[in-house]
């Protein structure tokens, strides 16, 4: 029992230590922060001087953090919309209208999620240049659905398969067309599934780093995942307090969202390896 508790404590400490470190760094005075680790008399795990809001003030007043957040959410909103427009009909089709070959196709679509951004960013850089979208957020809006659409179609298809067919069939017997049954009966029932898709499309967008790093070069147009590590680090001068505040403020809401939708997320990955 003690062993069990120690195990849980150990793993939890490993998982959250960097976040604890972000938290304490974000509120420490510089004189408390930059002491140097060779000074064993100075315990870096606690506040040796009173906490300060200075780093937060710098982050919000003197950096483009809020602009990056806004850019991220702007891209995220459009990507979510595109994902829904492309993914919802496809998911319904794969769940209900295509039978056996649809199953194969859906696995094929999911496999495209395995094609990494680090393989595609080079051809995309050509494509973006051809379309004249260099250094524009529209490039991200165009490209991000390449990973949100496969993943979300797959998730939503799994969800739609769990809905009983009889509900829409009885609506169709009552004179609804198939499309009418979809919009009036299926979609309202699928709201939890749709919400999951919205959340994951959004979180995948916020987390994305490689494409954003490749295509956006102006500081004012960056997304938060690139703006913070690229633009807030200037040469050898680091604003560690503000940097860590930015990391923490961005990460924690995402983790809370993830936690709510975790079970559906797992169901998406386990692909029927669990029965």
């Amino acid at each position: 029992m003690v062993g069990h508790r120690a195990l849980i404590l150990g793993f939890t400490a490993f998982a959250i230590f960097p976040f604890y470190w972000m938290l304490i760094t974000a509120f420490k005075q510089n004189a408390d922060l930059y002491v140097g680790a060779s000074n064993t008399a100075h315990n870096p795990f606690v506040f040796n001087r009173p906490p300060t809001l200075e780093h937060l003030q710098i982050l919000f007043n003197n950096t483009l953090y809020l602009t990056w957040l806004f850019n991220t959410l702007w891209v995220g909103g459009l990507v979510v919309a595109i994902t829904l427009v492309l993914g919802v009909p496809a998911a319904y089709s794969l769940a209900r209208l295509t039978g056996r070959w649809g199953e194969r196709l859906s696995i094929g679509i999911f496999l495209t999620y395995l094609i990494p951004s680090t393989l595609l960013f080079i051809p995309f850089s050509r494509l973006v240049a051809l379309l004249g979208l260099q250094n524009q957020l529209w490039a991200l809006v165009l490209i991000y659905p390449t990973f949100t659409v496969p993943f979300c179609t797959w998730l939503l298809m799994g969800f739609l398969k769990t809905l009983p067919k009889e509900v829409e069939e009885s609506a169709m017997v009552d004179g609804c067309s198939r499309v009418g049954a979809i919009t009036r009966v299926v979609l309202p029932l699928a709201v939890p599934g749709l919400l999951t898709v919205v959340i994951f499309a959004l979180t995948l967008t916020i987390q994305e780093f490689v494409y954003s790093l490749t295509f956006i070069s102006s500081v004012g147009r960056m997304t938060v995942s690139v703006g913070v590590p690229v633009a807030l680090i200037r040469g050898d001068v680091y604003y560690w307090g503000s940097l860590m505040a930015a990391c923490l403020i961005t990460s924690v809401p995402l983790a809370i969202l993830y936690n709510f939708f975790l079970d559906r997320f797992i169901a998406g990955f386990t692909v029927g390896a669990i029965k």
Binding site: H4, L7, I8, F11, A15, F19, W21, M22, Y34, G36, A37, S38, P44, V85, L86, P89, A90, L97, T98, E103, I107, I109, L111, T112, L114, I115, P116, T118, L119, L120, F121, I122, S125, R126, I143, P145, T146, V149, R178, Q207, F209, S225, V228, P229, M244, T250, S251, V252, L254, A255, I256, Y258, N259, L262, I266, F269, V271, G272, A273, K275
Partner: protein, 311 residues
């Protein structure tokens, strides 16, 4: 295994299926936009990546000419590339081996009921939910050359004597340890929740039946848990391997591939050559080396899903 195969196609012959030709047409119409998008923006760029690797294309202009396998010859003979290829496998293999062992231990610990379980689950999930670039920044600060808290701990513990110091990101071996640490830290939550889902899916009756038959804990582990967990374990390993193998964020932000290009991976080298260096053809050639592993992984994935289809 065989009986559901006969049962499956039956429900298709119900009266509503009279519409099935119209349904099939509607099915195609609904699928078309997503498939078109995926074709244009995943399949074509994938082929374009192969195509570009055979050209001398560069970032400045859209002109290019074919150079055959010249990029590949240049890449393969480069020591930096070989080191990156080696590193990619080392990082993936070591971190995933650790993740699977630790993930199994952690998932088993989380199976037992205890107070504050939901909070623990939330906290353990944090590394996976945080954007990778920002989480890596946290580690960059932890591994800082002057202010590293790890060095402070080692000093206090007496491991580092006076004048001794670890430059975590300025030394090839320590840099590799740092990169692997971040990969393990990040992928552990993902594998744990997937393995946990697998463990909870084993029906209690199976264990009870084994108990009645007098099976010991060892026999239960090897004859029930491991065989029943195999597909789910494969899923956890598969995604873990793909995500680690193709990642460039951790290396790019922690060490930039340094010191002296000793910690590059394929993805970060492709970025350095193809984007920062502007040699698109060469960068594409480096990235193409990611493909064989991805193909193997895709085949494994198909096998698992086919087995799930039949079972």
């Amino acid at each position: 295994m065989a009986s559901p195969d006969i049962a499956l196609p039956r429900p298709r012959a119900t009266p509503v299926e009279a519409l099935s030709r119209r349904d099939l047409r509607l099915g195609k119409v609904l699928l078309a936009p997503a498939l078109t998008y995926i074709f244009l923006l995943v399949a074509i760029p994938f082929l374009l990546a192969v195509f570009l690797s055979l050209t001398n294309s560069s970032a400045g202009s859209l002109d290019f000419s074919f150079v055959g396998l010249q990029n590949f010859r240049a890449v393969v003979s480069s020591p930096v590339f070989r080191r990156a290829l080696w590193n990619t496998f080392v990082f993936t293999f070591v971190s995933q081996a650790l993740v699977i062992v630790m993930g199994n231990v952690l998932a088993r610990a989380l199976m037992k009921p205890f107070r504050g379980k939901l909070l623990v689950r939330f906290l353990i999930l944090l590394p996976w939910a945080a954007p990778i670039s920002l989480a890596t920044l946290g580690w960059l600060w932890i591994f800082d050359s002057t202010f590293s808290v790890i060095n402070w701990l080692l000093k206090v513990a007496g491991w580092l004597g006076p004048g001794q110091w670890y430059y975590w990101l300025g030394d090839p071996v320590l840099g590799m340890i740092a990169i692997i640490t971040v990969h393990v830290w990040r992928m552990l939550p993902f594998s744990t929740v997937i393995l946990l889902a697998g463990l909870t899916s084993i029906p209690r009756e199976v264990h009870e039946a084994a108990d009645i038959d007098g099976a010991g804990p060892l026999a239960k582990t090897f004859q029930i848990t491991i065989p029943m967990m195999l597909p789910i374990l494969a899923v956890a390993v598969l995604f873990g391997v793909v995500f680690t193998f193709t990642d460039m964020s951790v290396v790019y932000l922690l060490t930039r591939g340094g010191p002296y290009n000793s910690t590059h991976v394929l993805a970060s080298l492709a970025f350095q050559d193809g984007v920062l260096g502007g040699d698109v053809g060469r960068g594409a050639a480096v990235a193409i080396f990611l493909v064989p592993l991805l193909v193997v992984m895709a085949v494994v994935m198909l096998r698992i899903s086919r087995r799930a289809e039949v079972a």
